[in-house]
Protein backbone atom coordinates (compact mmCIF):
# COMPACT_ATOMS: atom_id res chain seq x y z
CA UNK A 1 0.00 0.00 0.00
CA UNK A 2 1.26 3.46 -0.95
CA UNK A 3 0.08 6.63 0.76
CA UNK A 4 0.85 10.12 -0.54
CA UNK A 5 0.10 13.53 0.95
CA UNK A 6 -0.19 16.80 -0.97
CA UNK A 7 -0.88 20.13 0.72
CA UNK A 8 -2.48 23.17 -0.87
CA UNK A 9 -3.21 26.75 0.07
CA UNK A 10 -2.14 28.51 3.22
CA UNK A 11 -0.24 31.71 3.81
CA UNK A 12 2.72 30.18 1.98
CA UNK A 13 0.63 28.73 -0.88
CA UNK A 14 3.12 29.90 -3.49
CA UNK A 15 5.67 27.65 -1.82
CA UNK A 16 3.60 24.66 -0.73
CA UNK A 17 2.11 24.18 -4.20
CA UNK A 18 5.61 23.63 -5.56
CA UNK A 19 6.63 21.00 -3.03
CA UNK A 20 6.46 17.33 -4.12
CA UNK A 21 4.00 14.95 -2.42
CA UNK A 22 5.19 13.12 0.66
CA UNK A 23 4.97 9.34 0.24
CA UNK A 24 4.91 6.33 2.55
CA UNK A 25 4.99 2.74 1.29
CA UNK A 26 3.96 -0.07 3.62
CA UNK A 27 6.45 -2.39 1.91
CA UNK A 28 9.15 -0.36 3.61
CA UNK A 29 7.49 -0.30 7.02
CA UNK A 30 7.58 -2.80 9.84
CA UNK A 31 4.40 -4.91 10.13
CA UNK A 32 3.42 -3.09 13.32
CA UNK A 33 3.79 0.37 11.80
CA UNK A 34 2.00 -0.68 8.60
CA UNK A 35 -0.87 -2.01 10.71
CA UNK A 36 -1.01 1.28 12.58
CA UNK A 37 -1.31 3.13 9.27
CA UNK A 38 -4.11 0.84 8.05
CA UNK A 39 -5.98 1.45 11.28
CA UNK A 40 -5.68 5.21 10.89
CA UNK A 41 -6.93 5.05 7.29
CA UNK A 42 -9.89 2.89 8.26
CA UNK A 43 -10.79 5.40 10.97
CA UNK A 44 -10.83 8.26 8.45
CA UNK A 45 -12.99 6.28 6.05
CA UNK A 46 -15.58 5.87 8.77
CA UNK A 47 -15.49 9.51 9.82
CA UNK A 48 -16.52 11.81 6.95
CA UNK A 49 -15.03 15.32 7.02
CA UNK A 50 -17.07 18.43 7.72
CA UNK A 51 -17.56 21.24 5.25
CA UNK A 52 -14.74 23.81 5.21
CA UNK A 53 -15.69 27.20 6.63
CA UNK A 54 -16.18 29.54 3.63
CA UNK A 55 -15.08 32.51 5.76
CA UNK A 56 -11.63 31.03 6.36
CA UNK A 57 -8.64 32.73 4.76
CA UNK A 58 -5.18 31.20 4.32
CA UNK A 59 -6.44 27.81 5.49
CA UNK A 60 -4.68 24.77 4.06
CA UNK A 61 -6.25 21.71 2.46
CA UNK A 62 -4.82 18.22 2.54
CA UNK A 63 -5.22 15.37 0.07
CA UNK A 64 -4.13 11.89 1.06
CA UNK A 65 -4.26 9.28 -1.71
CA UNK A 66 -4.24 5.62 -0.65
CA UNK A 67 -3.18 3.26 -3.44
CA UNK A 68 -4.18 -0.26 -2.54
CA UNK A 69 -6.18 -2.50 -4.81
CA UNK A 70 -7.68 -1.57 -8.16
CA UNK A 71 -8.97 1.89 -7.26
CA UNK A 72 -7.07 4.54 -5.27
CA UNK A 73 -8.92 6.17 -2.39
CA UNK A 74 -8.68 9.94 -1.94
CA UNK A 75 -9.15 11.44 1.53
CA UNK A 76 -9.36 15.21 1.94
CA UNK A 77 -9.69 17.72 4.77
CA UNK A 78 -9.05 21.38 5.47
CA UNK A 79 -7.75 23.25 8.49
CA UNK A 80 -11.24 24.43 9.38
CA UNK A 81 -12.97 21.06 8.94
CA UNK A 82 -10.51 18.59 10.39
CA UNK A 83 -11.84 15.46 12.09
CA UNK A 84 -9.72 13.92 14.82
CA UNK A 85 -9.25 10.78 12.76
CA UNK A 86 -7.93 12.78 9.80
CA UNK A 87 -5.69 14.82 12.10
CA UNK A 88 -4.23 11.60 13.48
CA UNK A 89 -3.61 10.21 9.98
CA UNK A 90 -2.10 13.51 8.83
CA UNK A 91 0.19 13.56 11.84
CA UNK A 92 1.31 10.00 11.08
CA UNK A 93 2.01 10.75 7.41
CA UNK A 94 3.92 13.93 8.26
CA UNK A 95 6.05 11.98 10.74
CA UNK A 96 6.67 8.92 8.61
CA UNK A 97 6.46 9.82 4.92
CA UNK A 98 9.49 10.78 2.89
Amino acid sequence: MRVSLTTHGGLAAAITRQLPPRVADTDQLSPEVAAELRGLIDAVRGDPPGRPDPAARDAMTYTIVVEHGPEPTTLTASDTAMTKSFADLLDWVERNAA
Binding site: T6, H8, G9, G10, L11, A12, A13, A14, I15, T16, R17, Q18, L19, G50, D53, P54, A55, A56, R57, D58, A59, M60, T61, T63, S78, D79, T80, M82, K84, A87, D91, E94
Partner: protein, 358 residues
Amino acid sequence: MSAHRTLSCITPPFILTRLLDSDNHAIRDAALSTLLTSAQLRGERGVRSLIAGALVTPGDGRRSIFDCRHSTFLPSATLVRSEGEADVADVSVNQAFNGLGTTRDFFRTVFQRDSIDGRGMRLLGYVHRGRHYNNAFWDGQEMVFGDGDGEVFSDFTGSLGVIAHELAHGVTEHTAGLEYHNQSGALNESLSDVAGAMVTQWFLQQTADQADWLIGAEVFTPNIDADALRSMKAPGTAFDNKLFGKDPQPDHMDRFVELPDTDQGDNGGVHINSGIPNKAFYLLATGIGGYSWDAPGRIWYESMKASTATTEFQGFADITLRKAEELYGTESREQQAVKEAWSGVGIQVSTTPTLRRQ
Protein backbone atom coordinates in the same frame (compact mmCIF):
# COMPACT_ATOMS: atom_id res chain seq x y z
CA MET B 1 -2.08 31.07 34.02
CA SER B 2 -4.39 28.30 32.93
CA ALA B 3 -8.15 28.66 32.75
CA HIS B 4 -8.86 25.27 31.21
CA ARG B 5 -11.22 23.29 33.42
CA THR B 6 -13.68 20.48 32.90
CA LEU B 7 -16.91 21.43 34.57
CA SER B 8 -20.44 21.87 33.43
CA CYS B 9 -22.37 25.06 33.94
CA ILE B 10 -26.00 26.08 33.70
CA THR B 11 -25.28 29.80 33.45
CA PRO B 12 -27.03 31.08 30.33
CA PRO B 13 -24.67 32.12 27.54
CA PHE B 14 -25.95 35.71 27.52
CA ILE B 15 -24.88 36.12 31.13
CA LEU B 16 -21.50 34.59 30.40
CA THR B 17 -21.21 37.01 27.51
CA ARG B 18 -21.86 39.93 29.83
CA LEU B 19 -19.23 38.59 32.21
CA LEU B 20 -16.71 38.69 29.38
CA ASP B 21 -16.87 42.47 29.68
CA SER B 22 -16.08 42.47 33.37
CA ASP B 23 -13.17 44.62 34.51
CA ASN B 24 -12.19 41.80 36.84
CA HIS B 25 -9.76 39.53 35.00
CA ALA B 26 -10.63 36.50 37.09
CA ILE B 27 -14.34 36.81 36.33
CA ARG B 28 -13.70 37.43 32.65
CA ASP B 29 -11.37 34.46 32.32
CA ALA B 30 -13.72 32.17 34.21
CA ALA B 31 -16.61 33.12 31.92
CA LEU B 32 -14.50 32.52 28.85
CA SER B 33 -13.24 29.23 30.21
CA THR B 34 -16.78 28.11 30.97
CA LEU B 35 -17.97 28.94 27.47
CA LEU B 36 -15.09 27.02 25.97
CA THR B 37 -15.49 24.09 28.32
CA SER B 38 -19.15 23.79 27.36
CA ALA B 39 -18.17 23.51 23.72
CA GLN B 40 -15.58 20.90 24.49
CA LEU B 41 -18.02 18.82 26.47
CA ARG B 42 -20.79 18.95 23.93
CA GLY B 43 -18.58 18.94 20.86
CA GLU B 44 -21.35 20.46 18.82
CA ARG B 45 -20.83 22.82 15.95
CA GLY B 46 -23.89 24.78 17.08
CA VAL B 47 -22.39 25.34 20.49
CA ARG B 48 -19.15 26.44 18.92
CA SER B 49 -21.02 28.97 16.78
CA LEU B 50 -22.82 30.23 19.86
CA ILE B 51 -19.55 30.81 21.64
CA ALA B 52 -18.03 32.43 18.61
CA GLY B 53 -20.97 34.80 18.55
CA ALA B 54 -20.50 35.59 22.19
CA LEU B 55 -16.83 36.23 21.75
CA VAL B 56 -17.27 38.64 18.87
CA THR B 57 -19.55 40.92 20.86
CA PRO B 58 -18.08 44.38 21.46
CA GLY B 59 -15.07 44.16 23.75
CA ASP B 60 -12.87 47.15 22.91
CA GLY B 61 -10.61 44.84 20.92
CA ARG B 62 -9.58 42.91 24.03
CA ARG B 63 -7.04 40.20 23.34
CA SER B 64 -7.20 36.57 24.42
CA ILE B 65 -4.46 34.13 23.52
CA PHE B 66 -5.02 30.38 23.66
CA ASP B 67 -2.49 27.55 23.64
CA CYS B 68 -3.58 24.70 21.35
CA ARG B 69 -0.88 22.47 22.88
CA HIS B 70 -0.29 21.04 19.40
CA SER B 71 -3.87 19.96 18.92
CA THR B 72 -5.85 20.91 15.80
CA PHE B 73 -9.09 21.05 17.80
CA LEU B 74 -9.39 24.70 18.83
CA PRO B 75 -12.15 24.32 21.46
CA SER B 76 -9.76 22.28 23.59
CA ALA B 77 -7.18 25.07 23.69
CA THR B 78 -6.26 26.69 26.98
CA LEU B 79 -6.61 30.41 27.67
CA VAL B 80 -3.12 31.55 28.62
CA ARG B 81 -3.11 35.35 28.43
CA SER B 82 -5.82 38.00 28.48
CA GLU B 83 -5.91 41.77 28.06
CA GLY B 84 -4.10 43.59 30.83
CA GLU B 85 -2.03 40.61 31.91
CA ALA B 86 1.75 40.57 31.99
CA ASP B 87 4.10 38.61 29.76
CA VAL B 88 4.14 34.84 30.23
CA ALA B 89 7.02 32.44 29.79
CA ASP B 90 5.86 31.28 26.36
CA VAL B 91 7.40 33.50 23.66
CA SER B 92 4.78 32.57 21.05
CA VAL B 93 1.98 33.67 23.35
CA ASN B 94 3.61 37.04 23.94
CA GLN B 95 4.40 37.54 20.28
CA ALA B 96 0.80 36.85 19.27
CA PHE B 97 -0.50 39.07 22.08
CA ASN B 98 1.81 41.95 21.18
CA GLY B 99 1.34 41.57 17.43
CA LEU B 100 -2.45 41.64 17.70
CA GLY B 101 -2.18 44.64 20.02
CA THR B 102 0.06 46.56 17.63
CA THR B 103 -2.26 45.81 14.72
CA ARG B 104 -5.33 46.81 16.74
CA ASP B 105 -3.61 50.05 17.77
CA PHE B 106 -2.59 50.75 14.18
CA PHE B 107 -6.16 50.50 12.89
CA ARG B 108 -7.44 52.55 15.82
CA THR B 109 -4.82 55.30 15.57
CA VAL B 110 -4.39 55.57 11.82
CA PHE B 111 -7.85 54.76 10.48
CA GLN B 112 -9.98 55.34 13.61
CA ARG B 113 -11.24 51.77 13.25
CA ASP B 114 -12.31 49.98 16.43
CA SER B 115 -10.93 46.45 15.94
CA ILE B 116 -11.80 43.99 13.19
CA ASP B 117 -15.49 44.80 12.84
CA GLY B 118 -15.25 48.49 13.70
CA ARG B 119 -17.24 47.77 16.87
CA GLY B 120 -14.56 46.52 19.21
CA MET B 121 -14.59 42.85 18.28
CA ARG B 122 -12.49 40.71 20.58
CA LEU B 123 -9.16 39.51 19.22
CA LEU B 124 -8.69 35.78 19.68
CA GLY B 125 -5.32 34.28 18.90
CA TYR B 126 -4.44 30.57 18.96
CA VAL B 127 -0.80 29.49 19.09
CA HIS B 128 0.99 26.14 18.85
CA ARG B 129 -1.68 24.74 16.52
CA GLY B 130 -0.88 21.19 15.43
CA ARG B 131 2.56 19.66 15.11
CA HIS B 132 5.08 21.14 12.70
CA TYR B 133 2.28 23.28 11.28
CA ASN B 134 3.60 25.54 8.51
CA ASN B 135 0.87 28.11 8.40
CA ALA B 136 -1.19 30.87 9.97
CA PHE B 137 -4.80 31.51 9.09
CA TRP B 138 -7.98 33.43 9.85
CA ASP B 139 -10.88 31.04 10.40
CA GLY B 140 -13.63 33.65 10.18
CA GLN B 141 -13.53 34.41 13.91
CA GLU B 142 -10.04 33.78 15.17
CA MET B 143 -6.38 33.99 14.17
CA VAL B 144 -4.43 30.74 14.34
CA PHE B 145 -0.66 30.30 14.26
CA GLY B 146 1.57 27.28 13.76
CA ASP B 147 5.05 26.69 15.11
CA GLY B 148 6.52 25.70 11.75
CA ASP B 149 8.36 22.47 11.13
CA GLY B 150 11.70 23.86 12.31
CA GLU B 151 13.28 22.82 9.02
CA VAL B 152 11.79 25.22 6.49
CA PHE B 153 9.47 27.36 8.61
CA SER B 154 9.73 28.68 12.14
CA ASP B 155 7.13 30.10 14.50
CA PHE B 156 4.63 32.19 12.54
CA THR B 157 4.00 34.48 15.52
CA GLY B 158 7.56 35.72 14.97
CA SER B 159 6.37 37.95 12.14
CA LEU B 160 4.36 41.08 12.95
CA GLY B 161 3.52 41.32 9.25
CA VAL B 162 1.98 37.85 9.30
CA ILE B 163 -0.08 38.62 12.39
CA ALA B 164 -1.33 41.86 10.83
CA HIS B 165 -2.03 39.98 7.57
CA GLU B 166 -4.33 37.54 9.33
CA LEU B 167 -6.15 40.20 11.36
CA ALA B 168 -6.62 42.23 8.19
CA HIS B 169 -8.48 39.30 6.61
CA GLY B 170 -11.06 39.92 9.30
CA VAL B 171 -11.21 43.62 8.47
CA THR B 172 -11.71 42.83 4.78
CA GLU B 173 -14.43 40.35 5.66
CA HIS B 174 -16.24 43.03 7.64
CA THR B 175 -15.90 45.67 4.90
CA ALA B 176 -15.64 44.67 1.24
CA GLY B 177 -16.18 40.97 1.95
CA LEU B 178 -14.11 40.12 -1.12
CA GLU B 179 -14.81 36.63 -2.43
CA TYR B 180 -11.80 34.39 -1.92
CA HIS B 181 -11.10 33.26 -5.46
CA ASN B 182 -9.66 34.60 -8.71
CA GLN B 183 -9.08 38.38 -8.86
CA SER B 184 -11.28 39.33 -5.92
CA GLY B 185 -9.43 36.73 -3.85
CA ALA B 186 -6.04 38.01 -4.98
CA LEU B 187 -7.18 41.51 -4.05
CA ASN B 188 -8.27 40.15 -0.66
CA GLU B 189 -4.80 38.64 -0.18
CA SER B 190 -3.14 41.85 -1.32
CA LEU B 191 -5.11 43.98 1.12
CA SER B 192 -3.81 41.74 3.91
CA ASP B 193 -0.24 42.09 2.65
CA VAL B 194 -0.68 45.87 2.44
CA ALA B 195 -1.88 45.89 6.04
CA GLY B 196 1.03 43.66 7.06
CA ALA B 197 3.51 46.04 5.46
CA MET B 198 1.89 49.19 6.87
CA VAL B 199 1.65 47.83 10.41
CA THR B 200 5.28 46.73 10.33
CA GLN B 201 6.42 50.10 8.97
CA TRP B 202 4.23 51.96 11.49
CA PHE B 203 5.73 49.93 14.33
CA LEU B 204 9.25 50.66 13.08
CA GLN B 205 8.39 54.25 12.05
CA GLN B 206 9.87 53.63 8.61
CA THR B 207 9.18 55.69 5.52
CA ALA B 208 8.28 53.94 2.26
CA ASP B 209 11.85 54.35 1.06
CA GLN B 210 13.32 52.90 4.24
CA ALA B 211 11.12 49.79 4.37
CA ASP B 212 12.04 46.41 2.88
CA TRP B 213 8.44 45.67 1.73
CA LEU B 214 8.90 41.97 2.51
CA ILE B 215 6.04 39.86 3.87
CA GLY B 216 7.00 37.07 6.26
CA ALA B 217 10.77 37.51 6.18
CA GLU B 218 10.89 36.10 9.71
CA VAL B 219 9.05 32.81 9.11
CA PHE B 220 11.94 30.90 7.51
CA THR B 221 14.59 29.06 9.46
CA PRO B 222 18.20 30.18 8.93
CA ASN B 223 18.73 27.04 6.82
CA ILE B 224 16.49 28.32 4.04
CA ASP B 225 17.70 30.50 1.21
CA ALA B 226 14.69 32.81 0.91
CA ASP B 227 14.12 36.49 1.62
CA ALA B 228 10.44 36.20 2.52
CA LEU B 229 7.11 34.73 1.51
CA ARG B 230 6.49 37.68 -0.80
CA SER B 231 8.10 40.92 -1.90
CA MET B 232 5.78 43.86 -2.53
CA LYS B 233 8.61 45.91 -3.97
CA ALA B 234 9.63 43.21 -6.44
CA PRO B 235 7.03 40.43 -6.71
CA GLY B 236 8.60 37.27 -8.09
CA THR B 237 11.93 37.72 -6.31
CA ALA B 238 11.19 36.69 -2.71
CA PHE B 239 12.81 33.28 -3.15
CA ASP B 240 14.58 31.16 -5.72
CA ASN B 241 16.05 27.92 -4.43
CA LYS B 242 16.22 24.20 -5.18
CA LEU B 243 13.81 23.19 -2.45
CA PHE B 244 10.72 25.10 -3.57
CA GLY B 245 11.73 26.85 -6.74
CA LYS B 246 11.23 30.44 -7.80
CA ASP B 247 8.71 32.92 -6.44
CA PRO B 248 5.80 32.73 -8.95
CA GLN B 249 4.25 36.12 -8.19
CA PRO B 250 3.72 38.44 -11.18
CA ASP B 251 4.43 42.17 -10.93
CA HIS B 252 2.42 43.23 -13.98
CA MET B 253 -0.85 42.30 -15.73
CA ASP B 254 1.17 41.06 -18.69
CA ARG B 255 2.35 38.25 -16.43
CA PHE B 256 -1.00 37.49 -14.75
CA VAL B 257 -1.06 33.78 -13.88
CA GLU B 258 -4.18 31.85 -14.93
CA LEU B 259 -4.84 29.05 -12.44
CA PRO B 260 -7.94 26.91 -11.83
CA ASP B 261 -10.38 27.99 -9.14
CA THR B 262 -9.66 24.92 -7.04
CA ASP B 263 -7.73 24.12 -3.88
CA GLN B 264 -4.90 22.84 -6.08
CA GLY B 265 -4.97 26.06 -8.09
CA ASP B 266 -4.86 28.24 -4.96
CA ASN B 267 -8.45 29.30 -5.71
CA GLY B 268 -7.37 30.89 -8.95
CA GLY B 269 -3.98 32.00 -7.67
CA VAL B 270 -5.05 34.25 -4.80
CA HIS B 271 -1.57 34.09 -3.26
CA ILE B 272 0.07 34.42 -6.68
CA ASN B 273 -1.63 37.29 -8.50
CA SER B 274 -1.77 39.39 -5.33
CA GLY B 275 1.69 40.46 -6.48
CA ILE B 276 0.09 42.86 -8.96
CA PRO B 277 -1.92 45.06 -6.53
CA ASN B 278 0.91 44.64 -4.01
CA LYS B 279 3.31 46.25 -6.47
CA ALA B 280 0.78 48.99 -7.23
CA PHE B 281 0.61 49.91 -3.54
CA TYR B 282 4.40 49.93 -3.28
CA LEU B 283 4.61 52.23 -6.33
CA LEU B 284 1.99 54.53 -4.83
CA ALA B 285 3.73 54.70 -1.45
CA THR B 286 7.14 55.41 -2.91
CA GLY B 287 5.62 57.74 -5.50
CA ILE B 288 4.00 59.93 -2.87
CA GLY B 289 6.85 59.42 -0.41
CA GLY B 290 6.81 59.59 3.37
CA TYR B 291 4.87 57.10 5.44
CA SER B 292 2.86 54.44 3.62
CA TRP B 293 0.02 54.65 6.13
CA ASP B 294 -0.62 58.33 5.49
CA ALA B 295 -2.12 59.22 2.08
CA PRO B 296 -1.46 55.83 0.39
CA GLY B 297 -2.92 53.90 3.30
CA ARG B 298 -5.91 56.21 3.60
CA ILE B 299 -6.69 55.88 -0.13
CA TRP B 300 -6.43 52.06 0.00
CA TYR B 301 -8.45 51.77 3.21
CA GLU B 302 -11.29 53.97 1.97
CA SER B 303 -11.25 52.09 -1.35
CA MET B 304 -11.52 48.76 0.47
CA LYS B 305 -14.57 50.04 2.34
CA ALA B 306 -16.10 51.17 -0.97
CA SER B 307 -15.46 47.81 -2.68
CA THR B 308 -17.86 44.88 -2.95
CA ALA B 309 -17.50 41.11 -2.78
CA THR B 310 -16.81 40.84 -6.51
CA THR B 311 -14.51 43.82 -7.03
CA GLU B 312 -11.56 42.94 -9.26
CA PHE B 313 -8.26 44.69 -9.95
CA GLN B 314 -9.60 47.19 -12.50
CA GLY B 315 -12.61 48.05 -10.37
CA PHE B 316 -10.48 48.53 -7.27
CA ALA B 317 -8.00 50.65 -9.19
CA ASP B 318 -10.82 52.89 -10.43
CA ILE B 319 -12.13 53.23 -6.87
CA THR B 320 -8.68 54.28 -5.62
CA LEU B 321 -8.61 57.04 -8.23
CA ARG B 322 -12.01 58.31 -7.08
CA LYS B 323 -11.02 58.13 -3.43
CA ALA B 324 -7.78 60.00 -4.11
CA GLU B 325 -9.85 62.71 -5.75
CA GLU B 326 -12.35 62.84 -2.88
CA LEU B 327 -9.64 62.92 -0.23
CA TYR B 328 -6.98 65.09 -1.88
CA GLY B 329 -8.62 66.86 -4.85
CA THR B 330 -8.86 66.56 -8.61
CA GLU B 331 -5.45 66.25 -10.28
CA SER B 332 -3.82 66.37 -6.86
CA ARG B 333 -0.34 64.94 -6.44
CA GLU B 334 -1.88 61.95 -4.68
CA GLN B 335 -4.36 61.28 -7.48
CA GLN B 336 -1.62 61.52 -10.08
CA ALA B 337 0.47 59.07 -8.06
CA VAL B 338 -2.46 56.61 -8.03
CA LYS B 339 -2.68 56.78 -11.84
CA GLU B 340 1.04 56.19 -12.20
CA ALA B 341 1.10 53.34 -9.69
CA TRP B 342 -1.59 51.35 -11.49
CA SER B 343 -0.10 52.17 -14.87
CA GLY B 344 3.13 50.67 -13.58
CA VAL B 345 1.43 47.29 -13.25
CA GLY B 346 -0.46 47.51 -16.54
CA ILE B 347 -3.82 48.86 -15.31
CA GLN B 348 -5.09 52.17 -16.70
CA VAL B 349 -7.48 53.89 -14.31
CA SER B 350 -10.35 56.23 -14.89
CA THR B 351 -13.22 57.60 -12.83
CA THR B 352 -15.78 56.07 -15.20
CA PRO B 353 -16.79 52.44 -14.52
CA THR B 354 -15.14 49.78 -16.70
CA LEU B 355 -16.22 46.30 -17.67
CA ARG B 356 -15.06 43.40 -15.54
CA ARG B 357 -12.17 41.36 -16.82
CA GLN B 358 -13.40 38.21 -18.62
